[in-house]
């Protein structure tokens, strides 16, 4: 029996809140969530929280900004209603990572035209902002050979909000905004076919390098400002993120659950290979490989620069063909799989994305481990690579499965035989789409136990190693 504890659920993921409450033998706290007709978030807390230990469960999924603001409002409402302590339980932390979308070396997002047909051979080509779409070309006329406008319309991205060369917005740019059409330009999730010049080359603003604002610290500060005394989350993309907070953060791990799955559900798991789809996740994957005494492989993506060998009559088309390298993968060792070069302009450095596999997977079952799947490019490409290298079966074990955009479609078409995710974000819709190839592991017990232990002032560390099966 737990006293003086109230667990509220935000609207993003009521199911996990339900389960956490069930694990704690509690009823969910009474809260009414909704929106005013003008779109502002409206909440009302319908039970006393005075001198209570309050937990608010909200995952960073769905309409992320709505979820986040709703969480902030609930936290501050509890705080101003004299709660003793307010803890945010955030299974998937929003803004903890800039997602898997194209960006330039400087971190600027790449706005580009999607390819009609996605193939798993596709590899991101030279990452560079298309000149027109990215708003930065104050005195640059669109280059003749690519018609960025057309690209824009094909993608149905709203036009750039402020075109510096056109002080008066044209009629087409300022339609009667109907609220169903978002005014916020979307970054296309596809990485393919960016054909135009890099902004930094055209751009005359004394070489200022554009950069993308990282919202991580801000989100941490916002939570603290709204009254959070404590944060519980899971598998933060960067463990350093904990340092952004001035309040205690308990970063739980899904590792024990994933390990348990591997050792009980995958036949002859000792002969399988744990694979990390990128270098950043190597530590996470090796930890599991070590614990289970399994072998390990790593997929490494690299962007290499090549100075051109020929002078200057290159066109954008050639540039495009030069950079659309295929990742047909015949080599096993850490050699760039394929490079193609064609005529390039003199000063231009091209960056080639190459994918290489470090380790042997031939005739083996592969288990891909990653913390987050968003657009699913990384994981589906990795699976393709593994199958090409002779893997017999590919499992993917993912903590946070967001599957935004066309991710589900890609996963369906991919070489992944089975994808295992946790319910840190709602999976019902994904389950419907993917059927038996998706398996959902329940992490609510870990969260429930963490809440119980934190409330009782017990140590949480044992959850890091043993989980709560």
């Amino acid at each position: 029996m737990v006293h003086d504890i109230v667990v509220f659920s935000g609207s993003s993921h009521p199911e996990i809140a339900e389960r956490i409450c069930h694990n704690l033998s509690l009823d969910k706290g009474k809260v009414k969530l909704g929106k005013f007709s003008n779109g502002e978030t409206s909440i009302s807390i319908n039970e006393s929280v005075r001198e209570k230990d309050v937990y608010v469960v909200q995952s960073g999924c769905g309409h992320v900004n709505d979820s986040l603001i709703e969480l902030l409002i609930i936290l501050s409402a509890c705080k101003t209603a004299s709660a003793k302590k307010v803890t945010a339980v955030i299974p998937l932390f929003p803004y903890s990572r800039q997602p898997d979308i194209p960006y330039t070396k400087k971190g600027a997002p790449l706005v580009s035209k999607p390819k009609n047909e996605y193939t798993f051979e596709s590899v991101p080509n030279t990452p560079r902002a298309t000149s027109r779409n990215s708003n930065f070309d104050s005195n640059e006329t669109p280059s003749k050979d690519i018609q960025p406008n057309e690209i824009l319309h094909q993608h149905q991205a709203p036009p750039p909000t402020f075109k510096l060369e056109q002080p008066t917005p044209s009629k087409a740019d300022s339609p009667n905004h109907h609220h169903h059409h978002s005014r916020i330009p979307k970054i296309p999730e596809s990485k393919e076919n960016s054909t135009s010049e890099s902004f930094s080359k055209n751009h005359t603003n004394s070489g200022y390098k554009q950069w993308v604002a990282q919202a991580g610290t801000l989100v941490a500060d916002l939570l603290t400002t709204s009254g959070a005394d404590h944060i519980i989350t899971m598998d933060l993309h960067d463990a350093q993120f904990q340092g952004f907070f001035d309040i205690p953060v308990d970063n739980l791990y899904s590792k024990p659950i994933l390990q348990h799955y591997i050792s009980t559900k995958i036949p002859n798991y000792q002969d399988a290979v744990i694979v990390s789809p990128d270098a950043g996740g190597a530590k996470r994957a090796t930890a599991i490989a070590d614990t289970l005494a399994m072998s390990f492989a790593l997929i490494h993506k690299e962007r290499r620069s090549h100075k051109s060998r020929h002078p200057s009559n290159a066109t954008n088309n050639e540039l495009n063909s030069a950079s659309s390298i295929e990742s047909s993968n015949n080599s096993v060792s850490s050699v760039p799989l394929q490079q193609s070069l064609s005529e390039l302009s003199v000063e231009k450095k091209l960056k080639f994305a190459t994918t290489m596999l470090v380790g042997d997977v031939k005739g083996k079952v592969c288990i891909l481990i990653d913390d987050l799947v968003d657009t699913s490019y990384t994981i589906t490409r990795a699976a393709k690579l593994l199958k090409d290298q002779g893997a017999t079966k590919v499992y993917a074990l993912i903590t946070h499965a967001i599957f935004s955009g066309d991710a589900i479609k890609r996963v369906k078409q991919s070489s992944i035989d089975k994808i295992i995710v946790t319910n840190s974000v709602p999976q019902e819709d994904h389950q419907k789409e993917l059927g038996d190839s998706l398996e959902v592991l329940d992490v609510s017990k870990i969260f429930g136990e963490a809440v119980r232990r934190i409330h009782n002032g017990e140590s949480v560390s044992m959850l890091f190693d043993h989980g709560w099966p």
Binding site: N38, S174, N176, I184, Y208, Q210, A213, A215
Partner: protein, 321 residues
């Protein structure tokens, strides 16, 4: 020590590009090169394309959009924070329509005071100054520990009334007691009578009964309010006035949010002209709709603030359009 930063940088989010353009034109300054996008997972991405180091930064973002209020708010917070981390000397948020302004009191147990939360969030993000217009309750200024300039649309509205209507035959009407002060002030300046409608509200966005205080017989009634949201109040007030033999009803509001089925309600209403300012983009179609441009006031406020001049002139004077 120089206290005036070296130059103005104007930034704008996606909420109201037309207004940002107008302010930028009025000031003769281009909008800074930034990109505000959404990733496919719906997180907001802000790209800064020019230096703001040691500059006086003004970020224009209004509170609007039925599906996007929170998105625009996050855009604003991320832009402010980005400028802060990029060493801007001063960051001013220009928020013509302050979001969540009506969530300004704990009117029942445990109700969130979201306006206060937004104030705190803006300050946490790194905001040094706020310019806004016709705050629903001017007390919201007290929620901030930073200076807030609450501008008035009143001078622009006054000019509009003088230019457009037969003032002698008009009467100003406040659709609720809360707006009485605002209306009385305009009535004084036009030397007109004013009437008041008392409404009894049972639930948010729902009104039950209206009582008119004052004589509107054969007069042109100009209904004045700070915002029109679902327009339930406006339409019922207009009906009440016409039942009391008003000649004509015109409504003038600062923030024309027009959410829910406002479009339909207005189309079926007997209001002969609906006027709002451009603090938020217009999202409905109605041939009786007219707009007052308040960008000159905002632009002038930015200019004065940058130069360290007094803003109070703008409380009683509207700069030329």
């Amino acid at each position: 020590m120089t206290t005036v930063p070296n130059s103005i940088k104007l930034l704008a989010g996606n909420s109201h590009p037309e207004l940002a353009e107008k302010i930028s034109k009025k000031l003769g300054l281009p909008l800074s090169k930034i990109g505000v996008y959404q990733y496919s997972n719906q997180e907001t991405s802000v790209t800064i394309g020019e230096s703001v180091r040691d500059e006086d930064v003004y970020i224009i973002q209004t509170g609007c959009g039925e599906d996007e209020v929170n998105d625009f708010l996050m855009e604003l917070l991320i832009m402010i924070n980005a400028c802060k981390t990029a060493s801007a000397r001063r960051i001013t948020a220009v928020i013509p329509n302050f979001p969540y302004a009506r969530q300004d009191k704990k009117d029942k147990s445990r109700a969130p005071i979201t306006a206060k939360l937004i104030a705190n969030l803006l300050q946490t993000a790194g905001c040094h100054h706020v310019i806004t217009m016709d705050l629903h309750a001017s007390q919201i200024q007290g929620f901030f520990r930073i200076p807030v300039d609450n501008l008035y649309a009143e001078p622009s509205v006054l000019r509009y009334i003088k230019e457009q209507f037969d003032v002698k035959n008009s009467i100003l009407v406040s659709p609720d007691a809360g707006g009485a002060k605002r209306v009385a002030s305009i009535a004084d300046k036009l030397d007109l009578q004013f009437a008041l409608i008392h409404k009894e509200r049972q639930k948010a966005n729902e009104i039950s009964r209206m009582v008119l205080v004052g004589d509107v017989k054969d007069k042109i009634c100009i209904l004045i309010d700070d915002m029109a949201d679902t327009c339930g109040t406006l339409v019922k007030a207009a009906d009440t006035l016409l039942q009391n033999n008003a000649k004509e009803v015109i409504s003038i509001v600062t923030h024309g949010i027009f959410s829910g089925d406002a479009e339909k309600k207005l189309a079926n209403s007997k209001i002969s002209r609906i006027v709002c300012t451009n603090t938020v983009p217009i999202n409905i179609e109605n041939e009786r709709l007219d707009q007052i441009d308040i960008s000159p006031t905002l632009a002038e406020a930015i200019r004065r603030l940058h130069n360290g001049e007094s803003i109070s002139y703008l409380f009683s004077n509207a700069p030329p359009v």
